[in-house]
């Protein structure tokens, strides 16, 4: 299906347009963050680091950074442990309602986040935990579980059950088998799942805006500032978030490429 040179050129133009449409906003933000001007003109009139100084010199941004990091670390680890155990139980177990349980665990991915936000707002308000640290961490954990289960579900399905059976037949308990046999073999996928959950939490904005109360995370502060006025400090924050995402994805691809699971996890 090669077609005429004309139609091929047209297709290439459409494809390149699609890629440019996807990436141009990201590519533009980076030079803008080094702009010397307050107005968002492109190209920037001069080079400066003032917006990075504004970000790192602002104690409120630094506090938001700390809150984001702590919430992301705790909730991603919780999601990893609970989601990982559940993924293992779903793949290796057989019990009634298994599909239902799996559907329920994956649901936060499909149910519009705004609905999760409202339901949690109403529920947490009801039990008096609105604006609490516990509520925030638990909400982030719920949202991150599907990401963990997607990555680990594939990995566990592909791991040869007979290797575990050998361990059991040699007298190892389930717990011992998981720690000594399954985990070391799945380490790359576990790491990838943790990274995805960490990014998922670090970038979360909707639920956090609704339930975090006095806690400011980086995305929540960013969102609130964007609604009020366009402040160029945001370009610096955006560039830092781009760098974080690129680094995380690079780490994941390097690790997964070695195990050959890259394509399956990403596409």
């Amino acid at each position: 299906m090669t077609g005429s040179p004309w139609s091929r050129r047209l297709l290439a133009a459409a494809g390149v347009f699609g890629l440019v449409f996807l990436t141009v906003p990201i590519v533009i933000v980076i030079p803008m963050s080094f702009s010397s001007a307050r107005a968002l003109t492109f190209p920037p009139p001069g080079f400066s680091l003032r917006w990075y100084q504004a970000f790192f010199g602002d104690p409120r941004w630094m506090e938001a950074m700390a809150t984001s990091t702590i919430v992301a670390v705790v909730s991603s680890l919780l999601a990893l442990v609970l989601g990982g155990l559940a993924a293992y139980g779903l793949r290796r177990g057989s019990f009634r309602g298994r599909d239902l349980a799996e559907g329920n665990f994956m649901a936060p991915l499909i149910v519009p986040t705004i609905i999760v936000a409202i339901a949690l707002y109403l529920g947490l308000a009801r039990i008096g935990l609105l604006g609490s640290w516990l509520g925030l961490v638990v909400a982030h954990t719920v949202l991150n579980v599907p990401l963990v289960m997607m990555v680990l579900g594939v990995a566990i399905r592909e791991f040869d059950l007979r290797i575990e059976q050998v361990a059991w037949s040699l007298g190892a308990s389930w717990g011992h088998t998981i720690v000594k046999v399954v985990l070391p073999n799945l380490a790359p996928s576990v790491f990838a799942a943790w990274i995805f959950a960490f990014i998922g939490s670090f970038d979360e904005v909707i639920v956090t805006s609704f339930i975090a109360g006095k806690y400011e995370t980086v995305p929540k502060k960013m969102f609130n500032e964007l609604i009020l006025e366009v402040n160029p400090t945001i370009t610096a924050v955006a560039t830092l978030l781009i760098a974080l995402t690129v680094l995380a994805l690079a780490a994941v691809s390097l690790i997964l490429a070695r195990t050959g699971r890259l394509q399956k996890t990403l596409v």
Partner: protein, 272 residues
């Protein structure tokens, strides 16, 4: 062994029931129950009687539909083009689609303010080319919101569509060619029908995600393009009307789940 593996899912099950299922049930309760009166549809009558709610609903549907169509128009040629690339170029293209997928929606939405603003890239280019005298207003209207949403959701369409396209056996297309079919016929009679289930599934997924969009209309619409989610925000955070917010959320939830069921059927067909 009956019940094998239940112990592994129990901790997560408890967490999900407490922090996901129960809150949603409570929300449904608020939508359908009145203290002391029991089941009621009164909150829905209120919705039907309030023109502004219906207008926001119509707005949301229209913007979601346009953003989905824009996604198909941009995403299908992109995925098709990627299929024909060399191995190496394909890897680069996939990375360029996957990176935005994982990047904060705030960053991607914010970037459009920089690109589409009055002093932004697009307006600078248009004026430099002499196409327009003054800046064109892209932001804080439906145009900006639609562009931003199409951009954020494009990877959701392109990645599964591309995966379906590379599964199509080249020999099928060669067979059609050897029987004398011109390229146009091969595309429309063989290739396109094979990609249709994945395309439809991807478009439905994008549409569902559009319906619940919150961040992009809030930022690029500047409060002038309210969608369902922004209305819900107002009903919760500004004029507390929890019952009505719950009633609207319930409609959104049911519509989403219905479309998702259709998506699942198509997706299974596409991966079969």
């Amino acid at each position: 062994m009956r019940g094998k593996g239940l112990g592994f899912i129990a901790p997560l099950l408890v967490l999900m029931v407490v922090a996901f299922n129960l809150p949603i049930l409570y929300m449904l309760g608020l939508a359908f129950w009145e203290k002391g009166r029991g089941f009621t549809l009164e909150h829905y009558r209120d919705l039907a009687d309030t023109p502004v709610y219906l207008r926001v609903l119509g707005n949301t549907m229209r913007i979601s539909l346009i953003a989905t169509l824009a996604n198909v128009a941009i995403g299908y040629p992109l995925a098709h083009w990627m299929r024909g690339l060399s191995h190496r170029a394909r890897l680069v293209a996939i990375s360029l689609v996957v990176l935005p997928f994982w990047l904060s929606i705030l960053v991607r939405t914010y970037a459009w303010i920089v690109v589409l603003g009055n002093g932004g890239l697009v307006n600078s280019a248009l004026q430099a080319l002499g196409l327009t005298d003054g800046p064109i207003q892209f932001l804080y209207n439906e145009v900006g919101v639609t562009i931003g949403m199409a951009n954020v959701l494009l990877p959701f369409l392109v990645l599964p569509l591309f995966a379906a396209m590379i599964r199509i056996d080249d020999r099928l297309l060669q067979a059609a060619a050897s029987l004398g079919a011109p390229p146009r016929t091969i595309f429309w009679k063989v290739y396109f029908p094979l990609t249709l289930p994945a395309l439809a599934a991807g478009a439905l997924l994008v549409f569902i995600l559009c319906l619940g969009f919150y961040v992009t209309p809030a930022i690029l619409g500047g409060g002038r393009v309210p969608m369902i989610s922004n209305l819900l925000d107002t009903l919760i955070n500004q004029i507390p009307r929890w019952e009505q917010a719950s009633a609207i959320s319930t409609i959104l939830l049911i519509v989403t789940l219905l479309i998702f069921a259709a998506y699942r059927r198509l997706d299974r067909k596409a991966s079969a």
